[in-house]
Amino acid sequence: MKKPPSRPGWSPSTLLLLCSAAVGLPGACHRGSGDSHRVVLTTTDAPAVPAPVGERAPRREVVELEVREQVMSLADGVEYPFWTFGGHVPGKFIRVAQGDSVELHLKNHPANKLPHAIDLHAVTGPGGGTASTFAAPGQESQFTFKALNPGLYVYHCGTPPVGMHVANGMYGMILVEPPGGLPRVDREYYVMQGDFYTTGAHGQRGLQSFDEEKAIAEKPTYVVFNGAEGALLGDRALTARVGETVRLFVGNGGPNLTSSFHLIGEIFDRVYSDGGTTLRQNVQTVSIPSGGAAIVEFKVEVPGTYAFVDHALFRAFHKGAVGQLRVEGPDAPDIFSSPQEPRPLAAGAP
């Protein structure tokens, strides 16, 4: 049943944060005293991901997402009116176990202008949740689904025009862990690509708007990781230490482009293609369609700064699709020699 919308119950408070802080449980806490089986999940902003689910029985969980429409930085000096699940692009990362029943609450903040909804690709059922979660500004909606299939799934807004909602940043990911969880690794990160269509040219400063014509022509002015040019560069780069195994949950919100995700100077040891359960090994570039995802894992052996890009390279160098992973630790000259002084070719060489 769908409860009639009730404003008195609406509260912008970040219950999740209060809850996990007060109880001190990693990842979750119990909500109320009456129903000990309902657990409010902690969700995270990229590039962080929630703690692994690990080994446990399926349970009933509550996920709370709040839609915020807000102006944020898309690039240096460039502002854009983003529509978000939780105040950031990409939206909150949700982590559950196969077999869990997830009660998803979608709050549409009263200061928003537009109705929104959520379609999670992890849902089995018509519309993926869109119809049940369609909510006017200031309203809260909810629905419950059972996570039948393990994998890494994209979610996005399902309100028409869907392309525009997605182009403004309304996407995120939900991980459904298989029984027993994923193998342990040292680092996990959340990276999501998206294409943006501003009325001004790439780099034009000031407040920009969504450009309908460019979106329909599929000619983005920005292609970025985690919602902004430079979101994962410099002091915001991902980090790891030599010898560690890194797992990236990589998604592509699109709405238009397919990503050729590539980490320069590394080889993905293991890739769960398309975010599913097929394991491929020793992969150089992963194709991630719009509305798709992949889990990539690799051990870092050599220190240094690694760039990851959409290997459709003009996106990387002219539209923002580049991020960095900084690896610290001892050199490994047997694997990779340090740069050496260039010297002139020997005279008389052929």
Partner: protein, 434 residues
Amino acid sequence: MRRTGWAALALPMVGAVAAARTGAALGPDAVLVGGGDYRSVTAGRADPPRAVAPFLLDRVPVTNQRFLAFVREDPRWRRDRLSRRLADAGYLAGWSDALAPGPAAPPRAPVVGVSWFAARAYCAAQGGRLPTEAEWELAAAATPSQRDGRQDPRWRQSILDGYARPNPPVLRDVGLGPPNLWGAVDLHGLVWEWVADFGASMPLGKGGGSCGDGASQAQDPLDYPAFLRAALRGSLEARTTTPNLGFRCAYPTTRQARPAPPSTVAGLAGGSIYDWNLRLTGADGRPVPAERLRGHPVVAGMFFASCPSVCPLLIRDLKRMVAALPAPARADLRVLLISLDPARDTPEVLAYLLRSHGLDPTRWVLAVPSDDESVRAFATALGIRYRATPDGQFEHTRRVALLDADGGVRVQSEDLNVVAAALRTPPGVAAAAQ
């Protein structure tokens, strides 16, 4: 040229309306909007356009100042007195006080946080009504120089820009935007506006088709501003308020310089459907007296007699639900089924339906409103969305409302099990649980 012709026609009428207003408690000045053909952005490609007659429309959205005057005049619409049935908790929530808009709601800024019920009552008090979706869209399609700018990408883009910007904490004054061809101002770029038949925008993905269907069947899939408006209307209930949803009123071109009689305005304020002064005709050809329903719990739904599938199933399911009730509850219950189709559902048709479904006419009230506008009013109050389709059918949501003894909507649901459960629970208990 056609456009100069329309503009020339508009000006003297504005003058006439302004003159007629002098001394009367009417709304702000209105402009004449020439009629024309309108196709909803969510209508099917095969749907014929709808003809819209010329009408008068408020030049600007209703302001805090004017709404305050209305609330002073009719204190039942004060935010501290209005029934929650008629507006959610956001009703006039931006005001400092029930009779003081305060700094966050400047006098000349548009009033927002107003439900459909409240907007409708305000317009009725001015001798007007809310514009229909077709009227509003027709008026809003005009640019400063053209009747219809919707094919102009730059015009569309300028509207989109406004929709995509977050809501400012304090809205600016009305009247500062450029007048369009009809002289109307701020149809875009300031606030959303209620329309009388917002329930004709099917919630895309809910009730009627998925969002993908909407886009694939649309008249003009490029008209993103219209899609955004349709989606917003689809998300609303009659009691919904938001901090960016206001309204303006429409009037017939034969508008008289006097307010409507109180009887057509008053009704709503208590939240009882029986106070609407909307006439229902029963299967016996006579008006249905409210006494047949008042004092009983009433399960109310809507149907049309030529409906091929959903409506017969609704009647069947309602019969089963009633049969499963305990005897005392069954004896007390009334079922009210209101026709969506006044043109064809005559009393004879209703009587035939009663007989053919074997319905007890003391407990089952089949009735038809007097006109399409009354149908829309009943449907909106009951939370039922519908629209007429070109083949003479109606697309409608299958929602059913449970009314309490004095005609207030207690429960609305597509699921009869929910209604049945509520029927087994005394109203006080249900209210406490919600």
